[in-house]
Symmetry: C2
Subunit: 234 residues, 2 copies
DNA sequence: AAATGCGGTATTGTCGACAATTTAGGCTTG
DNA sequence: CAAGCCTAAATTGTCGACAATACCGCATTT
């Protein structure tokens, strides 16, 4: 039980382990958007050679968390307000679709489990414990289950692997949704109701609104300082 | 004008060049779905070392054209009928969204250009020349412009980089849409009309139908032999 | 004869060194 | 003083070799 802070072993291959560590470093904001990723430096930090690190960077590029230009290296993605809006727009369409499909494809067991999950959330929020928890993991968990309930592997891949990490990254920075947990939970319950009724059309509509609300709040928070300039530090 | 067949130089870096060559080899079916990608062999073939080749494979993995399992190598993606349906389902949602957005965001110049493009297609089809061309490049071109007209970089990225190549790969194999060029063109014109009217809702509906039709035809072609088994050769 | 363990071979994962390219700073030059 | 070149440092791209792992055929055992 020696090294809890440093747990360097994860994943089958070294490249995978580096990928995970690097991804969390980016998502949690330790590596600021726009900052340069120097291969040699990161390789030293993660105790590996440049080979696996390079592969990790390429994976992150696919997930839109970094951008690389040939011969000039990689930088942490830095989304402009416009791109951030585009991200939410796309998410709205995809998760709306997920909700519609989930309404017809989720099993009753899955629906039951989702309901108990939401009830647990309700308890947590009423007791004012874990508000932060709810916003992070709980919200993610709800959307995650909807996407899985849609039973569409392509959709799941695009949303969970590609787009979600990007949003988590920016959610971190603004701590989006402060004090909106109860409202969000209410919306989650409504979506659940629509799914229980097997009303795909309604579920899609509610989900789109739910995400649209989050997107417009995000827009307000960003446009106060930046209008077209990237949201970055360096 | 010596080597037209073999033009080994493409892209700024070797990995990029390999990526393009390998991707076309896969999309055109030269490397059958399910077949194994042996790094040493491909490296020899493309006249490079395993390093750049490895990076190309990782890029293709992000585009869902290959699947890798740690320590066991990469194989050309082999979609089951179910996954293929999921692919079209997702495309339907995304391109529907693209059409809706394009209806409000495309400039009149862009719309004019799109109209002349379709008129050229009409001429080609009526004269019975280039039916094959239309189905391949022309159709792609139309959808490409709609996606760009939506002015949403995330959407464009997901559709064009990730999903489109996969579909081209399977379109090749079945030569989907044989003799449907005139019908497809008609549908394209209707979508254009909706965009000219700035009627996003209608444009979305028409686009979804347009793609849904292609998807169900594809489904018919595949379910005749395979129901749950992957569509592959080896 | 079927299952299981055991090599040997093929293939992938990782590393360190070298080549090519970009980047930064100083110097010259107009 | 500004602009442009030119060198040097830093960084990325590429390669070949070695280590680790998975795959395959064969012998052995029950």
């Amino acid at each position: 039980m020696a090294d809890i802070l440093q747990q360097p072993e994860q994943g089958a291959t070294r490249a995978e382990a580096v990928l995970k560590q690097l991804q969390t470093a980016i998502v949690q904001g330790e590596l600021a958007p726009g900052s340069k990723l120097i291969e040699a430096e990161l390789a030293r930090r993660f105790g590996t050679s440049r080979g696996p690190l390079r592969e990790a960077i390429r994976d992150l590029q696919a997930r839109r968390l970094v951008r690389t230009t040939p011969n000039a290296g990689a930088r942490v993605a830095s989304l402009s307000a416009q791109e951030l809006a585009a991200l939410y727009e796309t998410r709205e369409a995809l998760e709306g679709m997920a909700a519609r499909l989930a309404a017809t494809r989720m099993s009753v067991e899955q629906i039951d489990e989702l309901e108990t999950l939401l009830e647990q959330h309700a308890v947590r929020i009423r007791s004012d414990q874990g508000v932060g928890y709810y916003q992070e993991e709980g919200d993610y968990d709800f959307h995650f289950r909807i996407v899985h309930g849609a039973d569409n592997p392509v959709l799941a891949n695009v949303l969970l692997d590609d787009l979600y990490q990007l949003m988590r990254m920016y959610r971190y920075r603004f701590s989006v949704g402060s004090g909106r947990a109860d409202r969000a939970l209410e919306e989650h319950f409504r979506i659940l109701e629509a799914i229980k009724d097997r009303d795909g059309e309604l579920a899609e509509l509610l989900m789109r609104r739910h995400i649209g609300a989050a997107g417009s709040r995000l827009k307000n928070e960003t446009t106060q300082d930046t209008q077209n300039t990237p949201i970055t530090k360096e």
